[in-house]
């Protein structure tokens, strides 16, 4: 920060609501760096991924180096450094899901979306990821789309799921009052 900048309110990459939430979060812990992981999660939910600007601002807010933020952030596979789709489809292929046909589901998603693992569709709506256990073994095979679960899947159900999300985008586009993201 240049001395000139430091005096005025520093620019933020977050929405005013999230910035206010972070202001409170940092003060909540005896040591401000304890707020790091929740901040990373909330920041990713809002921005979509942990951009350089996000890392820099979080480091500044809790007064640690950017390197330390990255040390922590890179440890967790659910934190991303590249943009994912608006709907990030995470297909579990751990043992329960695998035994009940997770790979068939996964392959079907690949065909329908035309992207591989960690790929993002050209319109930026969907991304596909193969993940470890998401804790839904009882209803295997399961997937997680952002924070929503879809379970007891069969490959044939895949186009319906994708279609439902596409529909949701269109509904929002038509209804100006519902435009705000709720499921994020």
């Amino acid at each position: 920060m240049s001395p000139k900048k430091a005096k005025s309110e520093p620019a933020t990459v977050f929405s005013p609501e999230l910035a206010a939430r972070f202001d409170a979060l940092v003060k909540k812990y005896p040591v401000s760096r304890s707020a790091l992981i929740p901040m990373l999660l909330y920041a990713q939910d809002e921005v979509g991924y942990l951009s350089n600007a996000v890392v820099a601002e979080i480091a500044r807010r809790i007064e640690i180096t950017e390197l330390e933020v990255r040390n922590v952030a890179t440890y967790y596979s659910m934190l991303r450094f590249k943009a994912a789709g608006k709907y990030n489809i995470q297909v579990c292929t751990n043992i329960s899901c695998m035994l009940r046909g997770a790979y068939e589901v996964y392959e079907r998603f690949r065909e329908e979306l035309g992207v591989g693992s960690d790929g993002v569709t050209a319109d930026g709506l969907f991304s596909l990821e193969e993940v470890e256990c998401i804790g839904a073994c009882c209803w295997a095979p399961a997937i997680q789309v952002n924070y929503e679960f879809h379970d007891e899947l069969k490959p044939d159900l895949v186009p319906g799921i994708i279609g439902a999300y596409r529909q949701r985008i269109e509904d929002r586009a038509q209804d100006p009052f519902q435009n705000k993201e709720k499921d994020a």
Partner: protein
């Protein structure tokens, strides 16, 4: 903590409760292997090599995190433990390339040693090893990722030890990787933006981090390892130079201090670790130069150069008197050379016109402490002090070892560091309290401390003992005032910061126009009575000599390892009527004007002793060698010999046979006996056999210079020996501080982490590091302005 007794491998050991088992065992000579454990750093328990069996505990325990308690029973070597360690090594070797034959660490690699000890050299893995290409993070630091065993030593050393925090670890498990603090972009790879100390390379147990100056050059067993003292700043770190035979002598290929001897332990800064390459600079002088009839410097033999120099010196001395000649000494030559230089000036030339480029005001320091003993602090005292008041300066840049010791003391011993400065310095992060002297400056310090109103002054006042460290901000009367303030309280000790590797030695050895060795005034009656023809009047200081030269009154000037033309920003033409003799490593601005240039050896190419700014004397051992150059000591002896002097009056060597009658009336003090021989005899020392042996001068220093009473066993073992300026009290010609020194004579060098005066200019490694850091700075400024 009270001592407890426990059993290791059937041996009863005793250690304070709470000691780490690994430390207790190592102290008792039981070696427990460990990769991640490093003394002085926080615990990691990442490598699992130090596992031991503890009785009644179901699983193997890590010795690096187990603290000892009464009655515990441990087993450190058994088939079970060997199996566990072998398994650990096998996992570590899973991705580790077996490129030991080309690896820098081969032969001194902890992983290699352990693999030889426990086996597991053959892997059961069939998977292909992860290979990544090596990365260059800075001119000094290279990273070979596949060799890394993720012990975290480098990260902790950089963060906790150096307080730089430039290294981190990304990802997890088998994908974990050490990363530097500057992100890679499409245009360039990852970079290190740090102090470039190379400590990470030093602590790396394998060959993952390698040094830009040493990598792929040689093998550890092909070098001789010589323990000597760094020549770059006045902290006096011990440094172990790895030396290898070269075409024209022997070359230095590496500098570190892995044996952890000396005050600095394993610490070295960028200058000590990488800045030794000035000795191999292509600009190095290796032949004497004499100005010919056409006014050009041309190479000459040593005999010719000495003949020309001494002929002229003798002629000027005999026709115009000794005071027509001036002598300028060096901040980088040994104590013996400095002592010999002033003795040469005072007895051979017969003048007190001797000075050096003063970077701080040691004379005032000595005077202010006159008559007090035990009031100066050695570096070891500072390393263990409970409370330190640091006034002024920027130790992180100018005294890296001092900064390291203060940080370590705060971290490990919870020492209290108080900082009074007109700037914000990096050490403030370790400080318990700081006093901002931006307004009022250093003059206000004592008033502020005495006021007792601020928290800072209350905290200082509450300290039972205190070490006050200050620097060139205090000169002349200010030094006296500060020391008088401290002397009023019990248990205050002082350290005064100067700039170069032997600035303190130059002052202690009397490179002053008005002070003899040991800060004894030349006017003091009976001082150094055994010096023949000692002139009684003070001579000219360096600026006065230069004024005399400008006025045409200075016939000759002998400059040893100094560069007054650049230092005092002189107009070169003022020296045109002066016969100039320069002894130096390089053709400096001053040497370029000389009539005779004599190529001198660097501190790494000679032996002797040096005194750091805290008064700790250490022994310098000859490591490298360069054909054509001579130590300044030898040059001075040859100059004296060339002037027709009986050299044994200058350097006491050989048996001179005049032991005299040691009876009451005609004893050593009667003037008839050879005092030096008597003293040697009394101290059980042998006479030295060569006039070129600096130890002969050391004997005389110890005999004549107050304060230089040397613990020779420690000194010659390579340890630091503390001395104090034992200036005589008021009864023997005490001169008040204010009358003694002209503070304007003091020109501090303000070297940074990557500059070291004339030496640093000729070091390629330091130049590259400075450039690298300048680029990093420019980049981060650019990034900041882009973000604004």
């Amino acid at each position: 903590m009270p001592d407890v007794t426990f059993t290791v491998d059937g041996k009863k050991l005793t250690a304070p409760a709470g000691t780490l088992l690994i430390d207790a065992c190592r102290k008792a000579g039981i070696e427990i292997p460990a990769f991640c454990y490093y003394p002085g750093l926080s615990l990691q328990a990442a490598c699992r090599m130090c596992v031991v069996r503890q009785e009644k505990v179901p699983k193997l325990q890590t010795a690096c995190t187990t603290t000892v308690a009464e009655g515990q029973v441990f087993i450190t070597e058994s088939p079970e433990i060997a199996q566990a360690r072998k398994a650990t090594i096998e996992l570590l070797l899973g991705n580790h390339p077996l490129d030991c034959p080309v690896c820098d660490a081969g032969g001194e690699c902890e992983l290699q040693d352990m693999t030889f000890k426990y086996g597991a050299g053959e892997s059961q893995f069939v998977e292909v090893k992860h290979h990544r290409d090596e990365q260059q993070w800075s001119p000094a630091v290279f990273y070979d990722r596949p060799r890394c065993i993720l012990c975290y030593r480098c990260i902790r050393m950089c963060g906790e030890g150096m307080d730089v925090w430039a290294l981190g670890i990304h990802n997890r498990a088998a994908d974990s990787v050490i990363v530097p603090n500057v992100l890679g972009t499409e245009r360039g790879g990852q970079q290190l933006d740090c102090e470039q100390c190379g400590m990470c390379i030093d602590v790396c147990p394998v060959g993952a981090l390698t040094s830009g100056s040493y990598r792929y050059k040689t093998r550890p067993w092909e070098m001789n390892h010589v323990s000597t003292v760094c020549t770059h700043c006045s902290d006096g770190c011990k440094v172990t130079l790895g030396v290898r035979q070269a075409n024209d002598g022997s070359e230095i290929v590496r500098a570190d201090n892995r044996d952890k001897s000396g005050i600095n332990g394993d610490f070295l800064c960028a200058k000590g670790r990488f800045g030794f390459d000035f000795v191999e600079s292509p600009d190095r002088l290796t032949q004497p130069l004499v100005r010919n009839a056409r006014g050009r410097l041309e190479p000459a033999t040593w005999e010719h150069a000495i003949r020309v120099a001494t002929g002229k010196l003798k002629e000027i001395r005999d026709t115009r008197g000794g005071n027509a000649i001036g002598v300028v000494g060096s901040n980088r030559t040994t104590n013996e050379e400095n002592y010999l230089l002033q003795k040469f000036a005072r007895t051979v030339i017969g003048t007190n016109n001797i000075d050096h480029e003063r970077t701080t005001d040691y004379a005032s320091f000595a005077r202010a402490l006159a008559g007090h003993t035990g009031k100066t602090a050695s570096l070891r005292d500072i390393a263990q002090a409970c409370a330190v008041l640091l006034v002024g300066g920027s130790p992180t840049d100018e005294h890296p070892l001092l900064a390291w010791l203060l940080r370590t003391n705060v971290r490990l011993n919870r020492a209290r560091l108080y900082i009074a400065n007109s700037k914000t310095i990096k050490l403030a992060r370790q400080a318990k309290a700081t006093l901002d002297l931006r307004r009022g400056g250093y003059d206000k310090l004592i008033t502020s401390l005495d006021s007792g109103r601020t928290e800072f002054s209350k905290a200082i006042f509450a300290e039972e003992s205190l070490i006050v460290i200050f620097g060139e901000e205090f000169r002349g009367p200010a030094v006296e005032n500060l020391i008088a303030w401290g002397l009023k309280r019990d248990n205050v000790r002082f350290a005064y910061l100067g700039d170069h590797s032997n600035s303190r030695g130059a002052a202690d050895m009397g490179l002053f126009p008005d002070l003899l060795p040991g800060y004894i005034p030349v006017t003091a009656p009976g001082a150094f009575a055994e010096y023949p023809n000692l002139p009684a009047a003070p001579g000219n200081s360096l600026p006065q000599m230069l004024d005399a030269a400008a006025a045409g009154d200075l016939g000759a000037l002998l400059v040893v390892g100094a560069n007054p033309v650049s230092h005092a920003k002189l107009d070169p033409s003022i020296l045109q009527h002066t016969f100039l003799i320069v002894q130096d490593l390089f053709l400096t601005e001053t040497a370029a004007l000389a009539d005779v240039v004599l190529p001198a050896a660097s501190l790494y190419e000679k032996s002797g002793t040096v005194t750091n700014t805290f008064g700790d004397i250490q022994i310098v051992r000859k490591a490298a060698d360069r054909a054509g150059v001579k130590p300044d000591f030898e040059i001075l002896v040859r100059l004296a010999g060339g002037m027709g002097i009986d050299v044994s009056t200058l350097v006491p060597f050989g048996k001179r046979g005049t032991t005299g009658d040691l009876g009451q009336s005609r004893g050593a003090q009667s003037g008839e006996a050879d005092r030096h021989s008597v003293w040697l005899e009394a101290n059980g020392l042998e006479p030295k056999l060569s006039p070129f042996d600096p130890l002969a001068a050391l004997d005389e220093i110890e005999r004549l210079v107050p304060g230089y009473t040397l613990d020779r066993v420690n000194l010659f073992a390579g340890n630091d020996v503390h001395t104090e300026p034992a200036s005589p009290g008021p009864e023997s010609g005490f001169v008040p501080v204010s009358a003694l020194t002209a503070p304007e004579l003091v020109v501090p060098a303000h070297d940074t982490l990557f500059t070291s005066g004339a030496l640093g200019r000729y070091s390629r490694a330091l130049g590259q590091l400075e450039q690298h850091q300048a680029n990093e700075l420019a980049k981060s400024e650019l990034a900041k302005s882009a973000a604004d």
